[in-house]
Symmetry: C2
Subunit: 270 residues, 2 copies
DNA sequence: TAAATAGTGTCTCTTAGACATTATGGT
DNA sequence: ACCATAATGTCTAAGAGACACTATTTA
């Protein structure tokens, strides 16, 4: 990130104009704060008691923190904090994500703005939502170390259906949920939840966890054929060019794959 | 749009907490203004001097207004204005679109937030970009009636490549251009630029104007077959169930179509 | 009859979709 | 031998992609 420094040379008249311009801006009421709120998603691994090796099953969870002060004291809310003058909102989100959850350097994406009048009893506060995708182990490490705040990981459906979230955070979470489902099908964000090398079974589980409606009988065949979808995945091979296999989740070893950096362009017309 | 009224019953202690909370918010520096800027796209029809009837060719254009005061006096900029306390940013955008261009009730969609420090010499100003899609005739009517401001319609490529836009409006326009291209292929926004009934030739021209890379040799065949794409379009028929044709653009009459309300779900995995 | 658009014929190759079948190897 | 997962076989119908060809009017 490089900041832009703006140098402006002005005549006296221009300076007067500038002062007027600034005055004009200042004479209106301005918001009382511009926070960034973060919807942090993670996939947690369910314990399975199968008789043999079996595929992992996941839960899509969201991190919430319990508010300690007015307003909505005691309610669960999205982590977040106010934007400062010397940072962009993306930087705010990254800073708050790190400060409040100890997570840094992960997928962080802008979601939208929430500006409905009256959404925050503290005043005129316009919030910007981001969503982050983090692997489970990052959060586990953090939760152990942290005793400053009460944090919780909730299954998304439970958070939406059963919790009374602070502010309009239910609406934000709902929007984020729809967005991550869309992204899961349109882009390769699945890789945020997967190790560098993974089996097609794992990938399928990840997609299904985020998008329960997703079903594809011939998943393996479709992924491994398809010329138009021209290789969003590629087989992993070792130094001798032998296909690398994994039998972590099954008796029969399964081919390992990785995502390429190719994302196909979708269209409803072609 | 219905506003939400929030009623809160508080004890004295709670009221004290509330006051503290508000104080806490107030003691930080807050932005000097939160504007909404609008990227208004339209398709203008090119005059063609062909020997017989021919398909319309379009240009994708964006509306800009010339700034009259500091900063960037004389430069072209996106129309926009500041958010007021009693409205959401979407309402701001709708209001400004109407005030500055006389356009109301059209496709208006949120694009994103622009908050890089120093982006506005007037102070700490965080801008929200929207994009609007408007038919040509609406703007023509407006431009004739308006003499308050100098407004211009520029081909998008020209505005991006040759104009020095105010603030970071070039970046905003660039983002909006990418977004509209994406939307054109993923959704049915093409209908915003088309009459209720249209020929497949017209539709193809619209798509190609917004997404020059789009090319599809068997466009008609693909649109009219396809079970999976299950009818984003349907043939228009008259009261006697006869197919309705148009020979506006060709000697041979062409079937008229309309969009259904179906938008297919795309996926890179299916 | 040339021009400009609309639409069909034809051919090959690939994919979709649905199921059945086989492969693997540890408990 | 059974289990859970991985992967291939097989079949039909449909679509992709490329081009050639016909259709419809009017200037």
């Amino acid at each position: 990130m490089t900041d832009v420094v703006m140098v402006i040379v002005m005549s006296k008249e221009q300076e007067q104009e500038r002062a007027n311009g600034v005055m004009e801006v200042k004479k209106y009421r301005t918001p009382d704060g511009i926070p960034a709120d973060i919807v942090m998603f993670t996939l947690t691994r369910q314990e399975r008691k199968a008789s043999t090796k079996s595929l992992p099953r996941f839960d899509l969870k969201v991190m919430l923190i319990r508010r300690r002060s007015w307003p909505f004291a005691g309610a669960w809310a999205l982590p977040g904090g106010f934007c400062q003058e010397d940072e962009s909102l993306y930087e705010t989100a990254r800073r708050e994500l790190k400060e409040e959850t100890g997570v840094d350097g992960h997928h962080l994406e802008y979601l939208g703005v929430y500006s409905k009048p009256g959404r925050d009893p503290r005043g005129w506060i316009i919030s910007h939502a981001f969503f982050a995708l983090v692997e489970e182990w990052v959060i586990e490490k953090r939760q152990a170390a942290d005793d400053a705040q009460e944090v919780g990981l909730f299954p998304v459906r439970e958070a939406l259906d059963e919790l009374q979230l602070a502010f309009d955070h239910r609406e934000i979470l709902q929007d984020a949920y729809l967005r991550i489902q869309q992204q899961m099908l349109h882009t390769t964000i699945a890789k945020q939840f997967l190790p560098p090398h993974f089996t097609l079974g794992e990938l399928y589980q990840v997609i299904q966890t985020v998008v329960p409606d997703f079903a594809e009988l011939n998943f393996i065949r479709k992924i491994t054929s398809t010329r138009s979808r021209q290789g969003i995945l590629e087989e992993v091979r070792d130094e001798n060019d032998k296909p690398m296999l994994s039998n972590q989740y099954s008796q029969r070893p399964a081919q390992l794959y990785r995502f390429t950096d190719f994302t196909p362009q979708l269209s409803i017309y072609t």
